[in-house]
């Protein structure tokens, strides 16, 4: 049932979980390969954290099977967990320890041999920009530094799989850039799954994206695929001498037009058509004074609306 592929570091099949009558995660499949950064995107309450808790063995799945580097997480949790580094939503930090002691404890808990530990701790601190904070108590660090310690904690034992639950939440813009750079770097050698509800973050660091909504994966594609999905079918058109919206809607291939009343239009195309050329020539012919013709970058909300609307349409078509 589960393919035997050595590059497959995370492989989940039919993973689901309910809390009482509330279904948090509907059966889903997830594959992550070595050297890949996968973004788990979704609004709050979509089931991202629950999925991550199941992948890290913190929560028993209601059904399904999880393999970490080919090892069954539920049957041999110890061997499987040794290959996972996990940063939960709230970093699990012991405030009364200093950074070095804490990371050493984490390495010990992951059964790292004593000889490698000191070096692993120093290297994790260096990678997370913590080189000067080794002797500081974690409780006295700022939120950004605590988040870094949280990430250092997830990578100190050189796991194959790194799972980060909203790693950039609560950080300032500079720190966010640092952390994203770090995640990209980690993605070269490890497999990384990160969850977020920020769309640009996924575009900045991920190779692939899985969008979750109401406990289901509603979209699974590469970043390029996501861009196409986001922008391919909507254009912002800015006109100096705007005609009535109906004039734009009359152009073949245009499905829907919204206007802000000041000469800017949101034009949605019908599937598999690109009326930009027709738009251009129409603008020239009628002297509308074209100022802007750019793909609209829809927000995450729009993507969701679109995804769920498409689902509803498909359901209706199937019925």
């Amino acid at each position: 049932m589960i393919p035997a592929d050595p590059a497959l570091t995370i492989c989940a099949r039919g993973l689901s979980r309910s809390f009482g009558t509330h279904v948090a995660v509907k059966p889903l499949d997830l594959d992550v390969r070595r050297g890949e950064v996968v973004g788990l995107l979704g609004p709050n309450g979509a089931g991202k954290s629950t999925t991550m808790q199941m992948l890290t063995g913190n929560l028993a799945p209601g059904s399904g099977e999880i393999r970490i580097c080919g090892i069954d997480l539920l049957e041999s949790p110890r061997q499987a967990k040794a290959r996972i580094g996990y940063l939960p939503e709230t970093p699990p930090l012991y405030r009364e320890l200093n950074v070095r002691e804490y990371l050493d404890l984490v390495a010990k808990l992951h059964r790292m041999p004593k000889a490698q530990r000191a070096e692993a701790v120093i290297s994790a601190m260096a990678r997370c920009g913590l080189a000067d904070t080794g002797r500081k108590l974690i409780g006295t660090l700022s939120k950004g530094y605590q988040q870094r310690v949280g990430i250092a904690q997830a990578i100190v034992h050189e796991p194959d799989v790194i799972i980060l639950d909203e790693p950039t939440v609560g950080l300032d813009p500079n720190q966010i850039l640092d952390i994203r750079r770090l995640i990209r770097e980690l993605g070269e050698r490890h497999s990384v799954i990160l969850s977020t509800h920020i769309l640009p973050e996924v575009e900045a660091v991920c190779d692939r994206v899985q969008i979750m909504h109401h406990g289901e994966i509603v979209f699974s594609n590469t970043i390029a695929g996501l861009r196409e999905f986001q922008s391919g079918r909507t254009m912002i058109v800015g006109l100096q001498h705007p005609p009535a919206a109906d004039a734009l809607a009359a152009i073949p291939g245009v499905e829907h037009v919204e206007t802000d009343g000041e000469g800017r239009f949101r034009v949605r195309f019908a599937q598999d058509s690109d009326p930009s050329a027709a738009l251009l020539s129409a603008a020239a012919a009628h002297n509308w004074g074209l100022q802007q013709l750019t793909p609209a970058r829809s927000s995450l909300e729009d993507v969701f609306v679109q995804l769920t609307r498409d689902d509803a349409a498909e359901d209706a078509a199937a019925a």
């Binding site: 913190n58 929560l59 028993a60 110890r78 939960p88 709230t90 012991y94 009364e96 808990l109």
Partner: protein, 256 residues
């Protein structure tokens, strides 16, 4: 792995003022009681010398000190144990242990070992007081050994109950009250129910109840008598509550 977790627990205990406070208070209370009894002993010594087989210093000074220590542990252990799981849950640091390649059993045993190491410090401080007298008099080392073992067994039972209480809630103070309540209930119910059952000749239920009577099991060893069932009972109590705590922790993984 158990020692790694135990070491961490011990560090955490000593990083908080609570542990130092508990050590100080216990030492002041027991030290004062010990000196008072020593004083009394010196005053009645002439009368004792006239008795045919007088009770010794160990019996009259050390034994009551140990009994006080047992009572003090009843309050102290739930306080020391309260944070062990409850606070890790509240601060969501338990995730670190649960995500690490460590079994639930190792987590609980590690925490138990850490708590026992701390309680051992208390017990050694209690033992140090009568031992100091060895320079001036002869001590009954057999009785002293029995008392120390009895206190250790009692502390293990209390620690297991306290740890289980800590696994029931995410509020440390609630865990302490819960643990204290459970120990008190055991004390009242265990002692009285055991006696009345035995009086009616129901020995098996009485023997079962005796597992939950920590102070009753303290007595024989405290008198220097080796009663194997009184030694087995606290061990059973400890094992039982540790298993409950492990199951409780695993239940959180299953139920969420």
């Amino acid at each position: 792995m158990i020692f790694t977790i135990a070491g961490k627990e011990l560090r955490t205990l000593f990083a908080s003022p609570l542990a130092w406070l508990v050590l100080t208070v216990i030492q002041v209370v027991l030290g004062y009681g010990f000196l008072r009894r020593l004083d009394d002993f010196l005053q009645i010594q002439p009368q004792l010398a006239q008795m045919a087989s007088p009770p010794g210093l160990t019996e009259l000074v050390a034994a009551p000190t140990y009994a006080t220590a047992a009572a003090v542990l009843l309050f102290a252990v739930p306080l020391l144990a309260m944070r062990m799981i409850a606070e890790e849950r509240r601060n969501q640091t338990l995730t670190l242990l649960l995500s690490a390649p460590v079994s639930m059993t190792e987590i609980i045993l590690g925490k138990f070992a850490g708590l026992m190491a701390f309680l051992l410090i208390i017990i050694l401080l209690v033992l140090a007081m009568p031992l100091l007298l060895v320079t001036g008099t002869r001590l009954d080392f057999g009785l002293l050994g029995g008392l120390t073992l009895a206190l250790l067994l009692l502390a293990a039972g209390f620690a297991a109950v306290g740890l289980y209480a800590s696994s029931l809630t995410a509020q440390p103070v609630a865990a302490a009250l819960l643990g204290f309540g459970m120990l008190l209930a055991m004390l009242f119910m265990g002692e009285t129910a055991g006696d009345s059952l035995r009086a009616r000749g129901w020995h098996l239920p009485a023997a079962f109840i005796q597992v939950f009577s920590p102070l009753k099991n303290f007595e024989p060893l405290g008198r220097g008598m080796i009663d194997s069932y009184a030694i087995a009972c606290p061990l059973l109590l400890t094992a039982g509550f540790l298993v409950l705590a492990i199951r409780r922790l695993d239940g959180r993984r299953l139920r969420g």
